[in-house]
């Protein structure tokens, strides 16, 4: 566990000694604000809630989370530091956990910095803060799931751009599987059971509950299993490269 934390600390330090962290934070906050207040029509809704804020997160994260995750392993492979890291007395699982944890904490920090929006709704009305908290938890799980997918694609290639594109495509699938226009299309020719199965893979379906303030164990389990599966696949991919 100590080693996981040592790796995570180094990784987090790496974000903040380069401009990556600051550029990301600024862009994330700007876009989150723009979508909430302008595109999401926050004020016109007259609701004391953050639906206008959270509803955009699956789309916002679609572009921004792969940008954080793409370098996790591809950079280590390109520069050769993966050899240094994995010949130290750590298991591959510890190394993956450490690096993943660092980038998840970083996304959690970005999300935490959206706190003014919580203050805003509390000043303007009387929102249910429990619901807001559930929304934040859901958003964090959503970011974690995308990030795990990015971590996996990042392990596939030395090229960060390739990792980014692969990751966006996979995450887009995770959204579209439950996106209304797509499910409507599927309903026309597929059985309802099939449509439900496909939709069950969607982050939208599982993120909805959190936005409404419902923390359903099935939704949590869904996100945790996406994370678990993607990180397990990351380990298999990294071991696969070395096995030749």
């Amino acid at each position: 566990m100590n080693l996981v934390w040592t790796i995570a600390k180094r990784e987090l330090g790496g974000y903040f000694t380069s401009p990556v962290a600051y550029v990301f934070l600024v862009i994330f906050l700007l876009l989150a604000g723009f979508f909430t207040f302008t595109a999401g029509a926050f004020f016109e809704r007259g609701e004391a809630g953050l639906t206008a804020f959270f509803a955009w997160h699956p789309w916002l994260y679609l572009v921004l989370v792969p940008a954080v995750g793409m370098r996790l392993w591809s950079e280590e492979r390109r520069s050769g530091t993966i050899e240094l890291l994995l010949t130290m007395p750590v298991t591959t699982a510890q190394a993956i956990a450490g690096k993943y944890l660092a980038s998840w904490l970083f996304l959690a920090l970005a999300l935490a910095l959206t706190f003014p929006v919580v203050i805003t709704v509390n000043v303007l009305g009387n929102p249910d803060n429990g619901t807001l908290l559930a929304g934040y938890l859901g958003s964090l799980m959503l970011a974690g799931a995308y990030l795990a997918v990015s971590c996996m694609t990042s392990a596939m290639t030395r090229n960060q751009v390739v990792a980014f594109i692969l990751s966006v495509v996979l995450c887009l699938f995770l959204i579209l599987a439950g996106f209304n226009p797509v499910t409507d299309l599927l309903v026309r020719w597929a059985s309802p059971a099939f449509v439900d199965t496909v939709a069950a893979f969607s982050v939208i379906t599982h993120f909805d509950g959190f936005q409404k303030g419902v923390i359903d164990s099935r939704d949590l389990l869904f996100f945790l299993s996406v994370i678990g599966f993607a990180l397990f696949a990351t380990g298999a991919i990294i071991r696969g490269h070395r096995a030749g």
Binding site: R10, G14, T17, S79, G80, E83, T87, M88, R242, G244
Partner: protein, 313 residues
């Protein structure tokens, strides 16, 4: 300390390492020689547990690298090829990180850091970020990383690559010094390093060991080993030919004895001959042989080795 048994690594159809066996004990410095792509780095990556072998076995300090990798890795300090390190970190930060990964506590880290910084001459760049360093400093930073936990086994992949002649000299001295108490394996394609630092050398070509011995033994495999070269006024090729095969070099002669080990007798015979004929001897020297000649001969099998040893393709 390091024991390698019939190690094989295949990448697809290519056999990068093909049945390599050797062992290195404490107090030994093993030089690993070979042309580019011979399988040096691949072998080292298997010793350090980065690549799992396709077949065969590596044990380090009695621990099987495949079965108990963590115990084995704890004993090893590794300098990877190209000396990769995290460019955005400072030298101090990077070495601190490596020390933590090696499980050193705060007090031990301070001491270890001071020790490797002194050994690798990093004092002046300690607070600089690694991407601002010259190649030599980057290299030594990574070398410092390999030494931070004072490991019993050192695996160094081209430790002098990219250094200037003074730095090369320093690193060779350091390797020789470390070799007194540790088991050291280092790869190189610079042949002088074998003499400068190794107690034993292995030459590897196309994944196979083609020679294994002390630098002296390897040199003795050279064609010129045991020959006597002389420069004398009045010397004649015809007279020398009675003693052995004679090669005429630029103003001097080289005489090859029929038996390589008979060079002392040959020297005495030449002195006696010069005395009898009244030649004025200016220089007389017994050839030890040249490593580069041996290296070229045994790593170019298609031109030098008999057909039975040649490999197809």
């Amino acid at each position: 300390m390091i024991r390698i048994d019939n190690l094989v690594k295949t990448f697809g159809a290519k056999r990068a390492v093909d049945g390599v066996s050797f062992s290195v004990e404490r107090g030994e410095v093993l030089g690993f020689l070979g042309p580019n792509g011979a399988g040096k780095s691949t072998t080292m990556r298997m010793i350090t547990g980065f690549y799992p072998p396709s077949s065969g076995k590596v044990t380090v300090g009695g621990h099987d690298v495949a079965e108990s990798p963590l115990q084995a890795k704890r004993l090893i300090g590794y300098l990877p090829e190209n000396a990769a390190s995290y460019p955005e970190m400072t030298v101090r930060g990077f070495l601190e990180f490596c020390a933590q990964m090696r499980g050193l506590d705060a007090a031990a880290r301070g001491k270890a850091l001071a020790r490797v910084v002194e050994r690798c001459f990093l004092e002046s760049v300690l607070e600089q970020s690694i991407d601002t360093l010259s190649k030599g400093y980057k290299h030594r930073t990574c070398l410092a990383q390999a030494l931070i936990h004072d490991p019993e086994v050192l695996v160094l992949d081209e430790p002098t690559d990219g250094l200037d002649p003074n730095q090369k000299h320093e690193v060779r001295n350091l390797i020789r010094e470390l070799g007194k108490t540790k088991a050291v394996v280092f790869s190189t394609h610079i042949l002088e390093e074998v003499d400068a630092a190794c107690s034993r050398a292995i030459i590897i070509d196309r994944g196979r060991i083609v020679a294994n011995g002390t630098p002296g033994e390897l040199r003795a495999m050279s064609d010129v080993a045991g020959a006597v070269t002389l420069h004398a006024q009045g010397a004649s090729e015809a007279k020398l030919a009675a003693l052995g095969r004679v090669e005429k070099l630029n103003g001097s002669f080289r005489v090859y004895p029929a038996d390589k080990s008979a060079s002392a007798e040959l020297t005495r015979a030449i002195v006696a001959l010069a005395d009898r004929e009244g030649w004025k001897l200016d220089a007389l020297r017994t050839e030890e042989g040249h490593l580069d000649e041996v290296f070229r001969r045994i790593t170019l099998p298609d031109t030098a080795l008999p057909d039975s040893v040649k490999r197809s393709g």
